[in-house]
Symmetry: C2
């Protein structure tokens, strides 16, 4: 039943179908992603998701067990590209400064494309059982934290980075990269500035600039 | 009717009482703050707020018109101390580096005490009319942005800071300072680290350290 499929691994429901091999299931995941992004809310209903995907509501239960299962699949699809990029980045022959630059750029880009990601993950960890929260963290956060830590360690070993509290650095970079997205209704409405691909790129460059400066060795 | 009272200024409801002069009204605001903080959610009901404050539900409508009115009062109370500190900070005779240090510390401290603040403000701006969103931004964000911009300008003029995109810097610092709080269920549950006053202080120190390094002139 596809136990090793990414889109099933942390779901808890009583799903009967295998979403990884179903185009309809993937369309439901995409509809959930699109609706959360467009409306800037985690509060999307089965009715709306099914209607957007053009499938009957019952398919959600069939493939994902429950809403939590569908949302986990949405989180996993959102982060899949960033994680794949990160793996090839770590394996590549760049120096730590260049790796950190590309890593921070990847985070900022992912949050621009999936502005609901952080909030959804935080809400699911908050509302889930301790075991469930641990599995989500293990699968969706730990790989990013480990990769960033490896880049920092390499830089410290080479003397280009100074030692920092890696956990605090991680949550600061993630929060900062997401700051502009989280504020996009404030910026769009009252400050007269839409967050588009262009301003998102400038934000990524600023995040890289600020944090690399904070990380560089000072002698 | 207290038009100039902070807790009325951006409320839209048909409130009939003056909350600024009522201890019961202030207890309702505090109950809303306490519940949002404890449960890490914006979704608190009139029933729960009234019960926590020990007052009948009808008092909320009487003093705040509607839920929006009560939540705006909660935002304004949450930020009042930080804004007052900021005013005296700007007037004080510190150099820009020291002012930025204290300003960033104030942001980090406020988010630790009011972890719901950013999310609530963002949701209210998102869901309100354009005029309402503009008033909220004007009242609750613009003073912070202006103060930070003034500190940066002073530092640039003295040659200790380099010029940065001030809007991007603002949302990056705010996002970074809030990053640890936003992740506190992840940290508490899966990474085995509670966010307490002690770790919040270390977070504030790290934020100051990272961003000041990013801001300092490089010659």
């Amino acid at each position: 039943m596809g136990e090793n499929m990414a889109s099933r691994s942390v779901a808890t429901g009583r799903a009967r179908g295998d979403p990884a091999n179903s185009e309809s299931a993937q369309q439901l995941v995409q509809a959930a992603i699109d609706l959360m992004r467009e409306r800037d809310t985690l509060d999307v209903s089965f009715v709306d998701i099914a209607e957007r995907a053009g499938h009957p509501q019952g398919l959600i239960g069939y493939y994902f067990g429950n809403k939590q299962g569908l949302l986990v699949a949405a989180l996993e699809r959102s982060i899949a590209r960033a994680l794949a990029q990160l793996e090839s980045l770590l394996a590549a022959d760049y120096d730590p400064v260049e790796k950190m630059r590309m890593h921070l750029n990847g985070i900022a880009e992912a949050y621009y494309r999936f502005p609901f990601f952080n909030r959804l993950l935080q809400a699911m960890v908050r509302d889930g059982s301790p075991e469930y929260a641990a599995r989500l963290t293990q699968r969706l956060i730990q790989p990013m934290m480990d990769a960033q830590a490896a880049i920092i360690d390499a830089g410290v070993a080479q003397g280009v980075f100074r030692p920092v509290d890696k956990k605090l650095f991680y949550f600061a970079t993630v929060g900062a990269a997401d700051g502009l997205n989280a504020a996009r209704f404030i910026l769009g409405g009252a400050l007269g500035q839409e967050i588009d691909a262009e301003s998102s790129k400038r934000n990524a460059a600023a995040i890289i600039d600020f944090f690399l400066a904070g990380l560089m060795s000072r002698d």
